[in-house]
């Protein structure tokens, strides 16, 4: 847990200083006014991909356990969920990580976004069985996937 905390502080600091938690930088990304965020994502994914592959193939944790990689199968929520999230991201200029980072930076409007995100998550979870039938989501114990 100490490791998670330290890495998250570094992640939050990085998101803040890279512009990924900045309203205008996110709008410039969506408007194709700047390649900054696309470059950031491309480098991030490009370096993570071989790293995770190597870890999965040869890696062991410090205690000798096999590395457990997470899978993200396609399901009925992948597309409609993504579509809803995109509207929210463009409106607030913040995806979930940057909502918290922006809050830490002292930008008070992030609190309203966080309240909305928690309310939205609760709304989704409390109505899971109903939504599951319409969208053909995975069963309740599996959920839509961690991420």
């Amino acid at each position: 847990m100490a490791l998670v905390f330290v890495l998250s502080v570094a992640f939050g600091f990085l998101l803040s200083r890279s512009g990924a938690a900045d309203f205008d930088v996110i709008q410039q990304m969506f408007l194709f006014e700047s390649p900054h965020m696309y470059g950031l994502l491309a480098v991030g994914v490009g370096l993570t991909a071989p790293g995770l592959w190597l870890l999965g193939r040869y890696g062991r944790t410090l205690t000798g356990q096999p590395i457990q990689l997470s899978a993200k199968p396609l399901h009925g929520g992948s597309l409609p969920g993504g579509l809803l999230f995109g509207v929210g991201w463009a409106m607030t200029g913040m995806c979930p990580g940057p909502i918290l980072v922006t809050l830490g930076e002292g930008k008070a409007f992030a609190l309203a976004a966080l309240a909305g995100a928690i309310a939205g998550t609760w709304l989704f979870g409390a109505n899971y069985v109903r939504i599951q039938r319409v969208l053909k989501l995975p069963n309740l114990t599996t959920g839509t996937g961690a991420g």
């Binding site: 905390f5 998250s8 939050g12 390649p35 463009a90 309203a112 909305g116």
Partner: protein, 179 residues
Amino acid sequence: MPHCAERALPPHEDWMILHDLEPWHFAIAGAGIALITLTLQAVGNRALGVSTGLEEFCSLVSKAPYFGRAELRSHWRLVMFAGLICGGLLSSVTSGAWSLSWNAGMLDTRLHLDHGSKIAWFFVGGLLTGVGTRMAGGCTSGHGIYGMARFQPGSFASVLAFMASGILTANLLWRVIAP
């Protein structure tokens, strides 16, 4: 902005990122994100993903069966939430001075919302983010970075969907409604 020409970002009239601080180069930031993702997996044996933390938060207060899933029991993502807030705080403090702010850049200069409308705007955007990321099973970190790096079909579909609707929404907002 003296160095903007050398960077991928065009000069901008009003950086609000922490007292007009210029963003890091995208390659440095991208490499940093990869390093954090890989360390979390190699040492912590956990997959990077922020939005499931919203469910962990709900599991503290809601009795809905969906929030009773085994995945949410360790609450490690709530520790990550605390870390992300502290990271933003640290960035702000070391960039000059931490101060409470209402400044939302373009949103203020183009839409001129009063306080109440601004709170409602961010709440609704957050609501869509909450419902959407949980329906899709991930956000920019879990799908955009981790899932795409593992060539996962669910992640490619979600990223395609949220980039498309984000591009559409931003263009509608800033090129049609409030140009």
